[in-house]
Symmetry: C2
Subunit: 455 residues, 2 copies
């Protein structure tokens, strides 16, 4: 089995594995662009002070330092900039916030962008966690206001994008923090933030401990704590969560608003998701201490729950502000490396070949190289990826050269000036004209191959 | 005019400028893959000791340090790895050499790969030089041996790739170091390396100074130095350089071999280059102190010579070695950011619109949002990038929303259930069926717009 090289959390793929990653990135881009999201890339480096604004991530930032930056009197450098410090971005949300403020005068709002880039975190490498990894984000950012409908759109676009990926089934879990907050208020919670924190720990500790925290830390009565646990236990793949919430008999305007929002988001995601993406209203999802204020998302890969959420996000009422203007937003971030690296490492996915070439033009002798090049160029003009054999060795060796790369067709120029092409999988060989022949569409580009797990 | 944000050498583009970059990257990838080059990405980080193997680049390396790496007793880190040190790669050749040795057992040789990735150098930012920049490399790497025909292929593929780019005319300059070395030997040079160094300075100092160096440092007789200068003055867009070299009356087997190689490379590049890429045999090109041993390439953008070579490379007899095996290679590296950032900054190139959307579906009222979404989805299913207006404002405002983004078509659902679509550039509006209507191909995706310089 092929092996990917993973040195200290910096994954690298073999060429056939890269076919899988490229295919996934192309698919994501296609979906995002069909929905009108614009591509943006931001600098890999951000001011350290910006990266460290949220204290919880400070251990994970990679600091950049020019090797000679400390040398005194170094001409032609900008020591001030270097001393103030740059670090590599650890997500694509912090850079988006800065980009929006920097370019606000030249962007149109609501600003809908996708961003597919590498990020870096210096954390301990493990399955699903890497020091260098690719994220694919979509966000809609408003100026002063942003319609709730943007939440619905983000959910639908990502559900559609996920449905097109060649990965095990996914579970897109949606919740709404307004719903939770309204519920906490409705049962008389004196400190809704403490209640949120308690519920957020449900995937780490047992419900008894969460119940104690709801009582001891969030100041809830025992009966109220039980109703919060009952709320958090609701997870439905259909719209029955609405009735389940209503059956708990708690009333609050914020709860009604949150419930209505959750209905809209879940419905829209249901409409576009295929059976490969299960959309669940999961009322336990809180997204921890993050800055989310309404809709929240998490995503599990079935059978791979141990790697955590592969696609998360939500609504934030203030993505950024420049003092005068506030930019609310909603977004979701897919961990491409977190999703793919474990599957590639386990041999569950691979490319059908290690090169783009659909055809190898065999080289009868060195004198024929020029005419073989012409044949190759004729095929390429019709979009057929083609290479010419590197050396005029025996045909058997040239065919094995193609075989080892997974190239399906070998082209043989004949002495009489005619041509034949062989499908080296079937051995079938027939006459062909380089000006008109094309392989079947399925053979034109490398495809993604699924390997079943060996139980 | 639109402005790109360039902070301290880390370029960022506006969405319509990113359309240009994406178009260029797509075009490069298409050409490389049509020729059967496989995509590879390597880790952004390399061991510092590897990056510093060539002393001349040590000032330019960005060192990576985890913010908390120095803290003692930090659990779950790898201090050994961190102390040995990582830096960001400054090109894609050093990482390729490491990747080839790391994965030699799983790669097929000759290994033909393309690699499009960001690189970093801590040098002083200026026009054409950035601290973060994208390179697009193609290389062919052999195991123990590599046919000279790989040089020919690399030249032809890059000439074809350059010909497809939406940039000012380019001049691809080709030379051969064997030719130069043979010539130096033929005129009796005692130290060919010193002669090479002297000639390499021709673009920095005047010929008189080079002549002095050839005599004083390389130990040539005055007449021999003059012949070397005469050789370096040869630059032809046709094959007449062969006669011009022969007319100098110098003889050496290495000169003959180098000249024959140069003929092959230049001919192959001529055959694929369009009039937008001038292929020149330029016998002054030496590529300095680099490790090149045969073919060498440089490329100038006409009218932008001040930014230096935008695409360089050549043949190296030993890209890498693991002690037992040597990996010769030939490659060429296109500076995508060096090429595009100056053109974008000068407003010479821009995208035709700032979003992928070809159609904005107007929203008559909030109640129609669902049916508008359905229309949009019908268009997307046929590959038409479409967005729905964010708010049911007055139609005039929705049309301006499309206009400001450069979206060419606005779709109007009618009260009777029929539909109309308006080309907002011409104002022409007609009935259309969301199940069958498509815009003309030219409007489907954003295109690249050339602006003439204002003299």
């Amino acid at each position: 089995m092929k092996r990917a090289v993973f040195q200290s959390g910096f994954p690298e793929y073999l060429p056939s594995q890269r076919v899988v990653e490229l295919g996934v990135l192309d698919s994501l881009r296609r979906t995002f662009e069909l929905h009108g999201f614009a591509s943006v890339e931001t600098s890999s480096a951000e001011a350290l002070e910006r990266l460290l604004q949220k204290g919880e991530t400070d251990k994970e930032v990679y600091v950049l330092r020019r090797l000679q930056a400390d040398a005194a009197d170094e001409p032609g450098t900008e020591p001030g900039r270097d001393r103030s410090g740059l670090g590599l971005h650890f997500d694509l949300t912090v850079p988006l916030a800065r980009y929006v403020v920097d370019n606000a005068g030249q962007l149109e709002f609501p600003f809908r962008r996708y961003q597919i880039q590498k990020c870096w975190r210096g954390e301990r490498p493990q399955e699903g966690r890497y020091r260098e990894f690719t994220q694919a984000d979509i966000d809609v950012v408003g100026k002063d206001t942003l319609s709730f409908e943007a939440d619905v759109e983000i959910a639908a676009v990502m559900a559609e994008a996920l449905s097109a990926l060649p990965v095990p089934p996914l579970r897109l879990q949606v919740n709404n923090r307004r719903l939770m907050e309204g519920f906490f208020l409705g049962v008389g919670a004196p400190d809704t933030a403490a209640a949120m924190r308690a519920v957020d720990r449900l995937d780490k500790v047992d419900p008894g401990e969460v119940r104690r925290a709801l009582v001891d830390e969030a100041g809830l009565a025992a009966a109220a704590a039980d109703r919060c646990l009952a709320l958090a236990a609701i997870a439905t793949t259909d719209m029955s969560f609405v009735e389940a919430v209503q059956d708990l008999g708690v009333e609050h305007p914020l709860l009604d608003q949150g419930l209505a929002e959750l209905v809209s988001v879940v419905q829209a995601a249901h409409e576009v998701a295929t059976e490969r993406v299960q959309v669940v209203a999961d009322l336990r999802i809180a997204r921890g201490l993050d800055y989310y204020t309404g809709t929240v998302f998490e995503t599990r890969m079935l059978g791979w729950e141990r790697i955590g959420s592969v696609c998360s996000g939500g609504r934030y009422d203030s993505l950024a502000t420049d003092g005068r203007t506030t930019y609310p937003g909603v977004g979701i971030s897919l961990g491409v490396t977190r999703l793919l690296a474990p599957l590639l490492t386990a041999g569950r996915l691979d490319g059908s070949r290690s090169v783009p070439s659909a055809v190898l033009v065999a080289l009868p002798d060195e004198a024929s190289r020029r005419s073989c090049r012409t044949v190759a160029q004729q095929l390429r003009h019709r979009g057929v990826p083609t290479e010419v054999a590197p050396e005029p060795t025996k045909y058997g060796r040239q065919i094995r050269h193609a075989e080892r790369r997974g190239i399906p067709y070998v082209w043989f120029p004949q002495e009489d000036g005619s041509h034949e092409v062989r499908d080296i999988r079937s051995g079938e060989q027939h006459r062909a004209d380089p000006a008109t022949w094309s392989p079947p569409d399925v053979d034109l580009s490398p495809t993604i191959v699924h390997e079943e797990p060996t139980a």
